[in-house]
């Protein structure tokens, strides 16, 4: 649930997905992976918010800005799941949920 401020930022904008990509060219180059991520995000109707911290091949996809009714969000969710689940370069993907963490 990251805003469009890149993977580092804020938390809930709308639904967001973390994706672990395998380089189709097998070279594992950062640039290739980045291009692959952009293309995949576009195919899923999302925006590639960038790499997640220092984890190579891990990207955060977020929804383009703008408010959507709940029904539409659910439809988008199913479409995204279908695209990510079916893509050969996707080793793993997961919709990002809020975590409950407390100060000690």
């Amino acid at each position: 649930l990251a805003g469009t401020g890149g993977p580092d930022g804020q938390g809930p904008g709308g639904p967001s997905w973390a994706v672990h990509l395998e380089s189709l060219k097998g070279d594992g180059e950062e640039e290739t992976l980045e291009q692959q991520a952009d293309a995949l995000a576009q195919a899923a109707g999302l925006v590639n918010a960038g790499r997640i911290g220092e984890l190579q091949g891990h990207y955060l996809f977020v929804q383009p800005a703008g408010h959507r009714p709940a029904l539409e969000v659910e439809a988008i969710r199913q479409q995204v799941e279908a695209v990510l689940a079916g893509h050969e370069a996707v080793r793993w993907h997961s919709e990002q949920r809020l975590l409950r963490r407390a100060k000690r």
Partner: protein, 625 residues
């Protein structure tokens, strides 16, 4: 014998250590908590909640955002500034990553654990899942990957040090083995002990707890003195920092002292040194048990109280532990019923010499058990693990508040109680149902054993114990003793340091100010030069202004020299003496650009030395001398 002028220093009862006398203060090292008036490390900081580089806390309704500033002060509060208190590692630099003040996701956690991980050495994390006695949670996929990546690639390859608080769920019978951050092999899990040496009411028992440091206890006992925020009711200093939140930063500070004397300690070296040097102390309720390697562990206190003197002396002479070896058993399918207490289900797995030949694993560090169990009430389950030596670890403690009907699904428990013991032999997992009555029987579906350790033999462990004890006199602390320390790897980071917006604005303002003064000064110098030159011409009598032909004027080939300011209204002058340009014509900005004007003093204006150039620059026609 160590004195600081900080007013609350005398009340910092937890700081007594001869280490301070040896000028070991964690200099040159960074650790992480939240930004405060210490010696900040902006390049190590970030605010994930607002997505900007400035981690300063924001005021909040519950007045809880002082938490980070309190933790930061414990580590690196500046000494001798007549303010508040002193940090354990007051020579270290502190960065902050703000992450708890807003919605948090797995991807944000992963960013936080590796944020600036070539700049930050130690991550002090005084937070975790809810300590309500019914939660089972920990780092998810990305958080786990980030912790692992941190110990592999962080701190120039020596490994980021992750210090986590074991939890405050004592009143709910919580146990830190239900917290995936606390039972991770990549983290240093720190519990709390009060000033009387007892486990505080809020502390949790845990087989994967490494050690304890001081914190507050019951009402009558003292808490930790540290810096505080000065927003809302905050005064900048507090005597009430407590909980395992307060214990973890003290450990982080002591680890910073270790890294100062030996920066090339790996993340596993740090854990080993803690195990080898933590001190056992008398507490009848603690149930200390000494394992086969001679280390005493208590579910309440870990291997005991951290001691900065012992940690630093051991670190100074520590040579790195061999590579991390591990062994993973097959997934053991059981599908056996879990009987009601006092009967129990016991399953075994024997680890043979052959099993360990590939990895070379001889002695243990962490031992982990991953289980899948179905049960109608999760809190009624009790799981104990017995190592080959017979050392028992209560890894799954019963929790009366946990009524979750989903049991465990590939949950990993872990223990450090068999540290240093031989890895070979039979491991026993004993599971029983301690619930009142259960209409539906629990089933152990499957389990898997994972051993972590090294090629050190039991003899190597004993030799190292003897070597460390010989160093406790402090004879190696003086500066001319130093073992060789490899420099570490050059590992690039995803994003380097970004200047904060405030800094950027300041720079722009200063820049504009500088440019303005530069232009102003250049003009003044240029005009005054011109003024000197025209004085020579006037000294022989009335000033003769050569009549400039229009053509020369347009070509700008002839030096223009006119009176600086006129004694009459320029417009009048304009009508009377067409040929004599007025001051305003020449000093308006567009002529300045042509650069063919000059500053000159009229013979009747000698009494106007007080004329300021800026008046001229702004073409103030009414300035009559």
């Amino acid at each position: 014998s160590v004195h600081f002028n900080d007013p609350k220093y005398p009340q910092q009862w937890h700081l007594v250590s001869p280490v301070l006398q040896c000028a070991v203060s964690g200099g040159g090292l960074l650790t992480i908590s939240l930004f405060s008036r210490l010696h900040p490390s902006p390049e190590g900081s970030y605010d994930l909640n607002s997505n900007d580089p400035d981690p300063m806390p924001h005021p909040d309704v519950e007045n809880g955002n002082h938490h980070g500033t309190r933790c930061a002060g414990e580590i690196a509060a500046v000494p001798n500034n007549s303010f508040c208190a002193v940090g354990v590692a007051y020579g270290s630099r502190i960065a902050g990553i703000r992450v708890l003040d807003g919605p948090l996701t797995d991807s944000m956690e992963a960013v936080a654990f590796n944020k600036h991980y070539q700049i930050n050495d130690i991550y002090s994390c005084s937070w975790g899942p809810d300590d309500d006695g019914k939660t089972v949670d920990g780092p998810h996929q990305l958080g786990k990957a980030a912790l692992q990546h941190g110990v592999i690639a962080g701190r120039q390859g020596f490994g980021s040090i992750f210090v986590v608080a074991s939890g405050n769920g004592g009143q709910h019978n919580d146990n830190c083995n239900y917290d995936g951050y606390a039972n991770s092999i990549y983290t240093v899990t720190i519990g709390a002990v009060d000033e009387e040496g007892h486990m505080p009411f809020y502390a949790e028992e845990c087989a994967s707890m490494l050690a304890v440091t001081f914190s507050g206890g019951d009402k009558m006992l003292r808490s930790i003195v540290t810096t505080d925020w000065d927003l809302q009711k905050g005064t900048g200093c507090t005597e009430g920092h407590t909980g395992t939140s307060a214990a973890a930063p003290l450990a982080a500070g002591m680890i910073a002292l270790m890294l100062q004397v030996r920066p090339c300690l790996t993340w596993r070296d740090v854990q080993h040194i803690i195990v080898f040097t933590a001190t056992r102390y008398e507490d009848r309720r603690a149930e200390w048990v000494t394992n086969e390697a001679g280390f005493s562990h208590s579910h309440q206190h870990g291997f005991g109280l951290l001691n900065a003197w012992r940690l630093v002396n051991a670190a100074k002479i520590w040579t790195s532990v061999p590579y991390l070896a591990s062994y993973v058993s097959p997934m053991l399918k059981e599908n056996k019923a879990i009987p009601q207490s006092p009967r129990s289900l016991e399953v075994l797995w024997n680890v043979s010499r052959m099993d360990l030949e590939m990895s070379g694993l001889k002695t243990l560090e962490h031992v982990a058990v991953t289980v899948s169990i179905t049960h109608p009430r999760r809190g009624s389950l009790e799981l104990k693990l017995f190592c080959p030596s017979g050392m028992m670890s209560l890894i799954g403690a019963p929790r009366s508040m946990d009524s979750d009907p989903n049991g465990f699904n590939d949950w990993t428990f872990s223990t450090v109680r068999c540290w240093g013991e031989r890895a070979r032999g039979t491991y026993r997992l004993v599971v029983r149902d301690v619930g009142d009555e259960s209409f539906q029987v629990g089933i152990l579906r499957q389990w898997q054993l994972t051993l972590y350790g090294s090629v050190w033999s039991p003899v190597d462990i004993r030799d190292r114990q003897r070597l460390l004890e010989s160093a406790m006199s402090g004879k190696y602390l003086h500066d001319d003793f130093a073992l060789p320390c490899p420099p570490g790897l050059k590992i690039p980071e995803e994003d380097g340091y970004t200047i904060t917006p405030n800094t950027l604005k300041t720079l722009v303002l200063v820049g504009c100010f500088t440019v303005f003064w530069t232009v102003y000064y250049m003009l003044e110098v240029y005009l005054s030069q011109r003024n000197v030159a025209s004085n020579q011409v006037c000294r022989s009598g009335p000033c003769h202004w050569p009549h400039r032909s229009r053509k020369a004027k347009e070509e700008g080939t002839e030096l223009e020299s006119v009176p600086l300011c006129s004694s009459k209204d320029p417009d009048e002058v304009e009508t009377e003496s067409r040929g004599l340009p007025t001051t305003s014509d020449l000093l308006v900005p567009d002529l300045l650009e042509q650069g063919d004007w000059s500053l000159s003093q009229n013979k009747s204006t000698l009494d106007c030395p007080h004329q300021h150039l800026d008046d001229l620059l702004h073409g103030k026609e009414e300035q009559i001398c």
